[in-house]
Amino acid sequence: MGEASGDEGLEFKWGKKRRVGGKKKDVQFYESFTYDGVEYSLYDSVLVGDANEPDTHELFVAKIIKIWEHTNKRAKNPRQVKLLWFFRPSEISPHLLEGVPDVLAKELFLASGEGPGLANVNPLEAICGKCSVVCISKDKRNPQPTDEEIESADFVFCRVFDVGSSRVLDTIDDKIAGVDVMFLFNRAGSKQEATNVQKVQEDINGNPDTLKPNGLPACGSVRETEDNSIESSDLRESSYSREEGKEKGHSKLAEERSNKDSSVQERYSKESSGFDDRPQKKRKLDGSDGKGDTGSFKRPRDISSDGKRGSEAFKRPKDKETGDEVPPEKPSLVKEKRDLGVSVSEGRDAKTAKKPSFDGRLLKRAEDETLADDYERGYQVIEVKQKPDAVNSKWFRPLPWEESMREAEKEERLVLLQNLDPTYTSDEVQDIVYSALNEQSTARMIERTSVTISHTGEALVIFNSRQAAERAIRRLDKGCLLLSSGRPLVAVFAKINPPGKLSSFYGHTKLQKTQMRREARDGVTTSRGSQPNTLEYVMAMEWCLHRARSDHAFQMAIKRQLEVKKSLRVNFKAKLP
């Protein structure tokens, strides 16, 4: 798929093609490319050098909104990108920033409106690197980022700078430089969601081209005329993509309706038709591998009894369902499929159940989208399920967490789940365990205090049986469950402190009677008591010093850890082969 250019200093490779345009069909648009070892995609934020001052460290930040190459003639710059600019506060004259409240240290302003300085066409080689710009706007359309994301981002933005009126605005229009703002906000779910249906819209509307002083004026004007002509060809392309979109939309809708039977059948047969022989074999393997639990038998019953909440019981149980619906009188088939869903074996069944994107070729796109939907809907599933079971497993409601936890630990049902997002809640953890591992559980997030690592979350999870806990741990160990923040989950058996009051606490010394007359029992020593001329004040200060030192050391260590983690960030988006 790529056209490597061997004659350039820095290596280059094209990524995904989009469509062809231009008057003479000599322009090829792309969705991504790899340059100098870094992969860039549409709507990525990049750093761009200044053409007038080639060696300055002051780089501009921009978003790629179009990528193309002229295929016929070896023009001066065959590969070009259109960049929508971000303004640093330093780039805007101070008097324009006067009334603007709270400009953060790494805040940028997105260019908007119309006029010079909005966006420019530049040769692709002007790009110096990628950066992360997180949108912190509270706009409803913007998927809100986590605190962690904000902290680790290179830049943030929440406002725009209108180049036409030279003002900073808080509200963001629906389109900027012809690009739907949905692409400029943070990416929500899988990339594929944004594919055809929306891109169609974007392409149809015009792109007002403007020039920034250090762009390429000559090329720019050429671009404009070509852009307009491209639109007509876009329309043709769009009708094709719309079809695909419809098909996906159809499968999406199919899931949302509660006519499980037919739709499930359809989808299932569609999927299987797209499959190779390989997955089939794997499935059989799983069947033989399976250790049928009583737990697994419960599940399908639950699903059918759940009535018409319908499609929710999709995603992972989807395979189980078909097993159920279709031939209840073929027990072997049902069992196989059930095992698939229940996923007794580690990574492998996860592969078959969820990897149509890797195996199925025809419906690749559609499946990715529906899979992503599956995952999300999987989240929904829990809300429905948990209630009935929760009542069953804890038979007297007031039983506090502590007791059930200790019991669970004794029976080896207690698991410590690590590397969660610290902002998750206990409920969400339960949901994740259910949808990803198919186990009912109760969870409790561990509080993030001054003595715990702040950039990662942990939770204690109680499973219903020892096997369930073991299973979960094994699966998470062997395989790799990736959450949307790019974190793979880690699980171990939890070991908790035995109950009872701790006898030792450092730092409280019994002062003799001849000294201050204060009752330790009473305990209320106020600021009045510790005047600077008393011994206890001095000692208190020593404690403060000790605390400050250990705090500092701990925070430094955590910061270092965070950096290491950042450098090892795993891509959540599935890369299609």
């Binding site: 899988s190 592969k351 999300e376 409920d427 606490f505 204060r518 020593t525 850890q561 090892l568």
Partner: protein, 206 residues
């Protein structure tokens, strides 16, 4: 998808949770011997204490000092508590180790409501995917980090123990000194000596 009414309810819940967070002070370095009433009465001098939640220590080392969340009636009161405690050593249920107060954060509440409108997604990574290795490395890294943090905490505790021992020694030697001086004045030895050297002496204790 969650219908708009549900979402609104969620948002409201989350907002009220956030305001609760703002009213709450996180106090740590507290002795585990302090009971709820002790803590309450200690902090009630700043204003009414609405709620005291003890943060359990399930995974940390046994000797870790206790942390507690104290909800005051308003955000200003909470801020006042934090300010005072940060400026002057405030000791609760024993001395001289003072407690530490800071603003509470949502992550400190284990029973918090979820952030409205957030959807979590996941995927199982195929071993043939090139991300798989990276992910396995990340997992190992997580374990490493946990061990590191545990080690640091342990070191902290050891230093605290050292300091406490030192301080108690200082206290006892001071005490001995005072006792000695007291005894001397009581016995009249000090007066005698003063007379010998033609110096003044403090009031005689008889």
């Amino acid at each position: 998808m969650a219908n708009p009414e549900e979402e609104e309810g969620e948002e409201e819940k989350y907002e009220s949770f956030l305001s609760r967070v703002r009213r709450t002070v996180y106090v740590d370095e507290l002795t585990p011997h302090a009971s709820k009433s002790v803590v309450e009465s200690a902090f009630s001098q700043f204003g009414t204490v609405k709620e005291v939640i003890f943060l359990p220590n399930y995974l940390g080392p046994k000797e870790l000092p206790t942390g507690v969340l104290i909800e005051m009636e308003s955000e200003q009161k909470a801020k006042a508590v934090i300010e005072t405690v940060s400026q002057f050593p405030f000791m609760v249920a024993g001395m001289p180790r003072p407690v530490r107060a800071s603003a509470a954060r949502p992550a400190m509440f284990s029973d918090r409501p979820k952030k409205p409108g957030r959807r979590i997604q996941f995927r199982w990574v195929d071993p043939s995917d090139d991300e798989f290795d990276k992910a396995q490395r990340v997992k190992r890294l997580v374990r490493k980090h946990t061990a590191e943090a545990a080690f640091m905490i342990k070191k902290q505790l050891e230093e605290a123990e050292e300091l406490a021992k030192q301080q108690s020694e200082t206290v006892t030697t001071h005490h001995k000194k005072f006792e000695m001086i007291d005894k001397l004045t009581y016995d009249g030895v000090a007066q005698e000596l003063a007379g010998r050297y033609n110096m003044k002496c403090g009031p005689p204790h008889r």
